[in-house]
Symmetry: C2
Subunit: 281 residues, 2 copies
Amino acid sequence: MILAVVVTGAWPASAQKQLTAQQVIDKIKAQISAPVNPDTVDTFKAGDPNTPVTGIVTTFLDTYEVLQEAVSAGANLIITHEPTFYNHRDETGFLKGDPVFEQKMGYIREHHLVIWRFHDQWHWRKPDGIIEGFTDAVGWGKYRRPYEQNAFTLPPTTVGQLAADLRAKLNSRVIRIVGDPLLRVTDVAYLPGASGEDNELKELERDDVQVLVAGESREWETVEYVRDAAAQGKRKALILLGHEVSEEPGMEYCARWLRPLFPGIPVTFIPAGEPFQRVPR
Amino acid sequence: MILAVVVTGAWPASAQKQLTAQQVIDKIKAQISAPVNPDTVDTFKAGDPNTPVTGIVTTFLDTYEVLQEAVSAGANLIITHEPTFYNHRDETGFLKGDPVFEQKMGYIREHHLVIWRFHDQWHWRKPDGIIEGFTDAVGWGKYRRPYEQNAFTLPPTTVGQLAADLRAKLNSRVIRIVGDPLLRVTDVAYLPGASGEDNELKELERDDVQVLVAGESREWETVEYVRDAAAQGKRKALILLGHEVSEEPGMEYCARWLRPLFPGIPVTFIPAGEPFQRVPR
C-alpha cells in the first residue's frame, strides 16, 4: 500500500529510476479512465514485472530487431502495441520447440527484458491514442469533423493522390487501393489496424464517407465489397496502408505521452518498420 | 429417381443442354471422391437450382463485373471459388438493406442466375484443383517433389527474382515480400488463399523449405514470424501473391476440367482479376 501511494505521488527523478516494470504499468493504467475489460490482452508477455526499469521503449510490434535496438539503447521495459509471439493472445504452447520462438524468448530472458502489451487501453483511451498519433503524422487535425474522431473532410483530391500523399507522409513501400484511383473524394474515414468487416462496412455504408483508409482487411470480405461497390458506380474506395503503417505513428505518440509521466526514465520510440518489401524491378 | 439415372448415364449433347443447375452440380460432386463435410460451404448461394443451364462460368470470385460478363456470355450457372456476399459463409442477414448487397442480389434475380460455390471439394479433390491450376500457370510441374503436391525444388534463384518471375507469369500488380529479397533459395512451398498460421508455420518450420508462396496472411501472425526468422539469420522468406492471384489459375483449370464432363454446355472461365491497384507514381 505504501508503494502505491509513493508511485502516484510526487517523486524525485533520481528515485523514480528505481520504479519496477509493474509500477510503471500501474501508473500508465491509472491515466486511462476507460474501464479495463477483464479479458484484455494488455498484460505482461515475458520477463519479471519486479525488474527495475532502466528505460522504456514503445513500438508498434516488438520484433526481434526492435528488441536488439532496445538492448543497445539500455532500455529493458518494452511497451508493444501488437503481439510478441505471432498471435493475438500471445499463446506460446503451439510454438514450443519452434526455432524462431525459442530464439526470441531466449533473447528476452538473456537480456532480462520485460514485455508489456498496450493495445486495448490505448485504443479505448479517449481520444484513442493510435488515432491521435496517425492524425498528427498525416497532418489531418485541422480537417477532423466535429465530434468524430476518425472522420475527416479533406480538400478535394483523388483516391490515387490521397494514397500517394499518405505514402509520402508515412514513408511506406506498399499501399494498395481498391476502387478507382481517379475517383474524386473529400470525405475520409480512418480505421487503424485490422478492424474487421463489421466496422469497415459501417464506415463505407455512410453517405458522407467515400474512402476508407485502413490497415489490413481480409481479401474475401471488405476488399470485394468495395470492388463491387465501385463496379456498381458507387463512389466508394478503400486504401490499405498495411497494419504497421496504419498504427505505428500511434506508438510514437505513446512515447511523447509517456515522457512527462516518467521524467526520470528515458522513453524511446523504436519503429518496427514496414514488414513488406516490394518486388524488385 | 428417373432423372438421376438419366443424368449419370450417357446423354446426347442436345439433350444435355437441358440439364438443371442441380443436375450439373450433382454430376460435378460425383467426380470427387473425397467425403463431403456436412458443414461444407459448397452450396447454392442464390438462384433456383431447377433452372435449366444455358452456360457455365467458373471464376475465383463472382464479383459484380463477373456476373455482368456471364450475362453477356449467355451463361446462367456461376461456379465461384470464393463467397458472393463478402463473408465465408455467405451470410446475408447483416447485409439486409446494404446498397451494394441489394444491387448485387437484385442483379442475380433479374437475370435468373444460379450461384454455386466450389471451394472445399475442389481443394479436397486429389489432386487439389487449385494447386494443379497454379502449378500449370507458373510452369512448376517439372520441379514438383515426389509425393508432395505443394512443394517444389526450383533451379537456384533469389526471393526477389522468384517474386518477379511470379509477377510476370501471373500478371500481378501487387506482390509483397517478407524477408531478404536477395536470399538465395531453391526449396519452395505454396499454400493457396488464406491457409491460416498453423498451416503456414508447418511449412516454414521445415528445413527443406526456404520460401513460402501464399495468398494472404494476417499481418500480426506469419508475416511477423518470418520477419523475426530473417532477423535471426534464418534462411526463411514469405511471398504474398494476394488471395486472388494465388487461386485464380485453379478456377481456369476448373473450366478445363469441366468441359469434357458437359460437352453440350459452353463452359467459360471469367477471371475476377486482382482487386488491388498500386499507388500511381
